[in-house]
């Protein structure tokens, strides 16, 4: 188990700043997830921690020791790649024992560790097969097994589930969560899938354009997004935003009201104590819930998540009511969360 400290880390490629001023403390045994849109720098940050790319400026400390110039193997990290990166000319056993042989470990100890990992990942019958003879899920388990046998201080996962189909993704996600529970090793996991982030993480780090937008527990990010970006990024469908102007003595202020689709209710009765009113312009039926898109005269329609039992039709005039305690308020200029105005949150 390793603790990690990133102090003012930056990474540039030529004139492009990929990461700027990253400060982050990761506690021993924590499960941290990096999320953010494509190109936000989350994979680059992982690679800097792994030692696969050089840090341009700033300090990386692993267990309190400066690790900027350390080789990946000296950092005691193990990494699971998106493409699995299994060595195609080696059997499962050879793939899993490769790093241990490099470390000149005793043959019996290698075999013991490989057997243990294979048993725990249900790969015992496949040890003499080549990667091409395995299914996608099995290959992913071999990649995880290759990481486990090293007994590393830090596991790094780079979008490990994105090549799997939906069912296998859920199953493997659960396996990774179980793995963290049993090994209690520090894990850093990169994904663009917020369901993975919300279900796996102790803490989520939201990145955007090379900067950290917010660090917090999944519920923290959901209930108290620090700014408009995080509010819009966490939650599906996205939070609704409504521009507001408030006028006070001598000054006016631009604000943005944010309300999640699940915190809006709809009534056909337009006289209902409504927050907003408008016409239904689109309906998406997802089976367990229905998304109703209501045009209230803004650029974008408001989205409300309702039960499939409720019956609505296109073109219908409806009233929308929000749970006031669930409303979020942001500064119109900086996009930062306004604490005072937020009733509940």
């Amino acid at each position: 188990m390793a603790s990690i400290k990133l102090a003012n880390i930056s990474k540039s490629l030529g004139r492009n700043d990929i990461l700027r001023g990253i400060d982050l403390d990761i506690g021993s045994g924590e499960f941290i997830v990096f999320v953010g849109p494509s190109g936000c720098g989350k994979s680059t940050l992982l690679r800097l921690i792994a030692g696969l790319d050089e840090i341009t400026s700033g300090e990386l400390l692993i267990d309190g020791v400066l690790a900027n110039g350390m080789s990946p193997s000296d950092r005691r990290v193990a990494m699971v790649f998106q493409s699995y990166a299994l060595y195609p000319h080696m059997t499962v056993r050879e793939n899993m024992s490769f790093s241990l042989k490099n470390a000149r470990m005793d043959k019996r100890e290698i075999e013991k560790r490989v057997q243990e990992a294979a048993r725990s990942l249900d790969l015992a019958g496949h040890l003499d097969r080549l990667p091409k003879q395995l299914s996608g899920g099995q290959r992913q388990r071999v990649a995880i097994g290759r990481a486990i046998v090293r007994e590393p201080g830090l596991f790094l996962f780079d979008e490990p589930l994105s090549n799997l189909d939906a069912a296998l993704r859920v199953q493997t996600r659960i396996e990774i969560a179980r793995l963290h529970k049993s090994l209690k090793t520090t894990m850093i996991y990169v994904t663009h899938d917020q369901v993975e982030a919300m279900t796996l993480a102790d803490r989520i780090v939201v990145l955007n354009a090379g900067r950290i937008e917010q660090v917090g527990s999944p519920l923290d990010l959901y209930n108290r997004p620090a700014n408009l970006f995080v509010a819009g990024f966490i939650g599906s469908p996205q939070m609704n935003f409504i521009s507001l102007s408030t006028t006070g003595p001598g000054a006016s202020r631009e604000m943005v009201l944010g309300i999640r689709p699940e915190h809006l209710s709809i009534s056909r009765d337009e006289q209902y104590l409504a927050s907003f009113a408008g016409k239904i312009e689109f309906i998406e039926n997802l089976g367990e819930q229905v998304l109703i898109y209501v045009n209230i005269g803004q650029d974008r329609p408001l989205v409300a998540k309702v039960s499939p039992d409720e019956d609505f039709a296109l073109g219908q005039h409806v009233a929308l009511k929000m749970e006031h305690g669930r409303a979020h308020y942001f500064d119109g200029e900086s996009g930062m969360r306004l604490e005072r105005e937020a009733g509940h949150g």
Binding site: A50, G51, L52, S71, P72, S73, V77, A78, M79, F81, Q82, S83, A85, L86, Y87, P88, H89, F98, S99, N102, A103, K132, R146, R150
Partner: protein
């Protein structure tokens, strides 16, 4: 249904016939040489020419053996081909890997410069190379020709192998580096074995280029290190044209490459197909 089957059968036969004709067209010169080499001496230049010998004779082979020291020149060819291919592959595969993985404009420029050596007509390189080899005291030595063939083959090996290396995901060597390898051991233990089919194909082509090379072999060798193409050409001189012996030597000269190609044929096809499908 029946008619459909018959039609597709006919189509298959027509395709096969076409392919055979095409193959025959390509093989015709080679078959002519092989068949002529087994004709009695009098039939070699008979007019009108006959396709098949009236009876199989090894007369041309015996004549060729007496006129040339074919054993020695074949041995020289083998040593030069093997030596130059080994050097070109060892250096060229490393350079090809560097080119495939680097985004540096310097490396890219080096790559283009290396290709330039292949673009200029070999005869323009002949004088400086002759000067260098003479200066090094390597005229008429196997090592001199090995070095020249290796240098001539390097751009080709770099170019061809870099294509194969580009098809190998960088994740593989990064996984190896995380697993305790350095750049070099990641290359030798992971990347090279994965690239074997492509490199085998490259090696075959490099070997064939060296095996068939004539100009530099003629310029740089005389007696001791003379290779087979130069020896064979000596049968054609201002006094006589030993066509029969030449076809015999030509046939013999083809055998090693033919054997090599048959052995590694599958590897060549695998190499050519690399990158065609995502693995």
């Amino acid at each position: 249904m029946m008619i459909g089957l018959r039609k597709s059968r006919l189509w298959e036969i027509a395709l096969l016939g076409g392919a055979l004709l095409f193959a025959l067209f390509y093989l015709a010169p080679f078959l002519t040489i092989v068949l002529t080499s087994f004709k009695p001496a009098a039939e070699v230049i008979a007019s009108p020419p006959r396709l098949l010998p009236s009876h199989f004779s090894i007369e041309n082979y015996l004549h060729m053996a007496s006129a040339l020291n074919i054993g020695r020149s074949m041995w020289n060819s083998l040593v030069v081909t093997f030596g130059s291919t080994a050097i070109a592959m060892a250096l060229g595969s490393m350079a090809g890997y560097a080119v495939a993985r680097s985004h540096s404009p310097v490396v890219r420029s080096f790559f283009l410069l290396a290709l330039l050596a292949r673009v200029v007509p070999p005869v323009t390189l002949a004088i400086p190379i002759l000067g260098m080899i003479r200066w090094a005291g390597l005229i008429d030595t196997q090592i001199g020709l090995i070095l020249v063939h290796a240098a001539l083959n390097l751009p080709f090996v770099i170019w061809m192998s870099s294509g194969f290396f580009q098809d190998i995901p960088a994740d593989l060597e990064e996984a190896a580096i995380v697993d305790g390898c350095n750049r070099f051991t990641a290359f030798t233990r992971i990347i090279l074995p994965v690239a074997t089919p492509g490199l085998a194909a490259t090696a075959i082509f490099a070997a064939m280029l060296s095996w068939n090379e004539y100009l530099f072999a003629l310029l740089l060798t005389n007696v001791e290190a003379k290779t087979a193409p130069v020896a064979v050409s000596e049968l054609l001189n201002v006094y006589s044209s030993e066509w029969g012996a030449m076809t015999a030597a030509g046939t013999l000269f083809t055998i090693p490459v033919l054997i090599l190609a048959i052995i590694i044929q599958r590897r060549i096809v695998e190499g050519m197909a690399m990158g065609a499908v995502k693995g």
